[in-house]
């Protein structure tokens, strides 16, 4: 492919691509997102390819393996267009039948259709599925239309048109003004206005400037950036190009978690293709602009999601944050002016330029514009990536899109925003997804993780889980985070292990507030949120642990005992063979018993008992 030398050439290439593609009769889309990969979608797509080759259907039917569609729970997912037929949990053995009956004869295979749990009816098309109905997918809809390894797929949906538009003569200041008018705020957690960052970086002194894409999605329970970078890497690259043009940068970095190997591969390939087509390198589209992007792999440190720590890591150093009174937009990477935005923020930029600021700001609330991708997980029926307009209520996300509780238990809370966010109780589910409103309630939207918790989740244990995580991930540079979080963990551990004292509650509160006020970086300042929010909304659970030495959810090991109920045990031996400690005794077909001394309360035996004879007390 020769380089695209001008904006006219780009338009001509797109017309050519579209005219060829309109002849495709049938398009089979197989989701290749992280969820579907784990359910072995590659075997399904390989089988489709093999069948197409052997049946000579390759001319009429096209296969596209895309990034994440969002509905991971149903993986591997297949959509057949133009009819928009949706098949879930497809196995390689189903492929022959799908090609024969659905593709050739136009029939629908009942068994592979999705069943709406509310109506118990089969749903034929993707558009009718309740999970998708309440969503507003702008970024995720692009995921469904492109093979991440094909720049031509991205060009066919209008890719790089936003870049062409700004290079055609929009002043950098005008680009920044457009982003400002759109109301775009950082999707990585902080929610800082993107245009303000860009403007400050543009105004900063210095010839050499950098743009960085933060793809170090270290929040447990979050995978939206993975979904975009793996599924639509060119949107991120185009966003960075537009940003680089606005700021005046010639070099960029994508800092990506090494735990996302496919994101690394796809980003590398997209950069290679963008170089080949002339979107990266020198004299881009004949404009004289020059820009290139390098990939830096993260080392698995949560703190590197913080901008100054991330920059230190790109420099090859230990990822420790530094005080931010010197702004990174003036002194960032290698002490040069640097603009850092996360994956989702960059990916929104091309759409804003293409569709205009008014289109973007038409979605959302007064202070939070556009859409947000949420990673909906935990004790909820439909898990996966969900994209909704800001202002959509948590109830809509959890109950309508998520389909409510996964196994009939009562939903108690949602945890939003990862280790920097907090737990919000079910009675607050009418709150909208919004940067500022969730913050006022002691949580935050953060990067968009949304973990649903039910009555079997202990909120004190959740606080302990996050404190443990944060203590483990603390870089250790500042005292409030290194020691404060450690002390908070000590207190919460005391409470979960039955040593809690009533006076520890106000101490925990005070410690949390002190850490929030005094820690060095944003991650340290928000570290007490999981503990403080559970104290605020679930104080009765703390009380039960301390005053009654009981864990209402039956989770905290020191406060529970496992017992085998003689009325239900049939002596099948399942628990006996599964116990790693050998703490269960009994002969075949006789009542089994648990040796309390040897039992470590690891929680395995209740999961293997078919008769639910092992109870927690």
């Amino acid at each position: 492919m020769p380089k695209i030398a001008s904006i006219t050439d780009l338009a001509a290439l797109r017309d050519r691509l579209l005219s060829v593609r309109s002849k495709d009769a049938v398009l089979i889309t197989v989701c290749g997102g992280p969820g579907c990969q784990a359910t072995e979608c590659h075997n399904v797509s390989a089988e489709v390819r093999r069948e197409l080759d052997t049946n000579g259907l390759g001319e009429k039917v096209r296969l596209r393996v895309t990034g994440c569609h969002g509905f991971c729970e149903q993986g591997p997912i297949m959509v057949i267009d133009p009819a928009n037929v949706f098949y879930g949990q497809v196995k390689p053995a189903d492929v022959g039948e799908i090609l024969n009956r659905t593709v050739i004869q136009g029939e629908v295979i009942d068994r592979l259709l999705y069943t709406d749990p509310a109506t118990k009816k089969k749903v034929v098309t993707e558009a009718e599925i309740p999970f998708y109905r309440a969503q507003n997918p702008t970024l995720l809809s692009q995921n469904r239309q492109v093979d991440p390894l094909s720049i031509e797929d991205y060009l066919a949906i209008g890719g790089y048109a936003g870049l062409a538009r700004v290079l055609a003569g929009t002043e950098p200041e005008k680009v920044i003004a457009e982003i400002e008018a759109s109301g775009l705020r950082g999707r990585g957690g902080g929610g800082f206005p993107t245009a303000r960052k860009w403007a400050a970086c543009r105004a900063a002194h210095g010839e050499e400037k950098y743009v960085i894409c933060n793809a170090d999605e270290g929040d447990p329970g979050a995978f939206m950036d993975r979904g975009i970078l793996e599924g639509n890497p060119h949107a991120v690259i185009e966003g960075m190009l537009i940003g680089a043009y606005a700021i005046g940068a010639e070099h960029g970095y994508i800092y990506v978690r090494n735990e996302y190997p496919i994101a690394v591969v796809h980003a590398r390939e997209a950069i290679r293709q963008a170089m080949e087509y002339g979107f990266l390198g020198g004299d881009i589209l004949g404009s004289g602009m020059r820009f290139d992007i390098d990939i830096a792999r993260g080392g698995g440190a949560f703190v590197c999601g913080e901008s100054t720590a991330l920059m230190a890591s790109i420099e090859g150093k230990v990822g420790e944050p530094r005080p931010k009174d010197v702004h990174t937009v003036e002194h960032g990477l290698w002490n040069k002016p640097t603009t850092l935005n996360n994956v989702e923020t960059w990916a929104n930029v091309p759409s804003i330029i293409n569709n205009g600021a008014a289109w973007f700001s038409g979605m959302g609330t007064d202070s939070s514009k556009g859409t947000k991708i949420l990673a909906l997980t935990g004790k909820v029926r439909n898990t996966g990536l969900v994209e909704v307009a800001f202002g959509t209520t948590l109830r809509t996300v959890v109950e309508e899109i998520g389909g409510g509780a996964s196994d009939g238990k009562a939903i108690k809370a949602v945890q939003t925003g990862g280790p920097s966010g907090g737990c919000l109780p079910a009675y607050l589910f009418d709150l909208p997804v919004d940067f500022d409103i969730l913050w006022e309630k002691g949580s935050m939207i953060g990067s968009g993780g949304l973990v649903v918790m039910d009555e079997k989740t202990c909120m004190v244990d959740v606080a302990k889980y996050f404190l443990n995580f944060l203590q483990d991930e603390s870089c250790g540079k500042c005292v409030p985070c290194r020691i404060g979080v450690d002390r908070m963990l000590e207190i919460v551990t005391d409470i979960t292990e039955g040593r809690g004292r009533p006076e520890q509650i106000p101490l925990l509160q005070e410690l949390g507030e002190t850490v929030a006020h005094t820690a060095l970086c944003g991650l340290g300042k928000t570290a007490p949120n999981p503990a403080l929010s559970t104290l605020r909304y679930f104080s009765e659970e703390y009380e039960a642990h301390i005053r009654e030495a009981s864990c209402p959810a039956g989770v905290c090991k020191s406060l529970i005992e496992y017992t085998i109920d003689s009325a239900h045990c049939d002596g099948c031996g399942a628990c006996l063979t599964s116990c790693p400690q050998g703490a269960i005794q009994g002969e075949k077909d006789r009542l089994h018993t648990i040796d309390r001394e040897a039992c470590t309360k690891c929680g395995i035996c209740p999961t293997v008992c078919a008769r639910n004879a092992i109870t927690v007390q």
Partner: protein
């Protein structure tokens, strides 16, 4: 210097900022960063040995000890935690008689936990040698470990 290190260091010498990338490449190929390769990296990139050690020690991605032949990675992200990741870790450590991060005595397995691998929709998830196993249960994990063991024993006899 070994040919392997020579290839990895090609085009990166005297560039201290390449330290983490170089460590990644060694970790990926060799499974750990040896004392000897640490010394070579230090000399060739122009980074003090103590800094190489500090960086390798700071980031979770790097191991300073040899790891087992088969790596069992248990996700301990929030979604996996609320859907029962703890019993899985207990099962793996109990069954193999190791602590987290340790290799078994026969060098066959290392059990590790990672804070999130980003497949939360399929929680709890276990990764064995890079292959994802969704919706895990202690019983499924036990079967998986047994399968690998059996395959190893058969290849030893063959």
């Amino acid at each position: 210097m070994s040919e392997f290190l020579e290839t990895i260091l090609e085009g990166r010498k005297s560039q201290p900022h390449q330290l983490i990338e170089v460590l990644h490449d060694i970790q990926q190929e060799k499974g750990y960063i040896s004392r000897k390769s640490g010394g070579t990296i230090s000399r060739e990139l122009g980074v003090p040995l103590i800094e190489v050690y500090r960086v390798a020690n700071f980031y979770k991605a790097f191991s300073l000890e040899p790891r087992g032949k088969h790596i069992i990675t248990l996700c301990s992200g929030t979604a996996c935690h609320v859907r029962g990741a703890n019993p899985l870790l207990n099962q793996a450590m109990g069954l193999l008689d190791v602590e987290e991060g340790e290799a078994t005595e026969d060098g066959l397995f290392t059990v590790e936990s990672v804070h999130c691998i980003g497949t939360c929709a399929l929680a709890p998830v276990v990764v064995l040698n890079g292959v994802y196993h969704p919706h895990m249960t202690p019983a499924k994990l036990r079967a998986l470990i047994k399968k690998v063991r059996r395959a190893e024993e058969e290849s030893a006899h063959a």
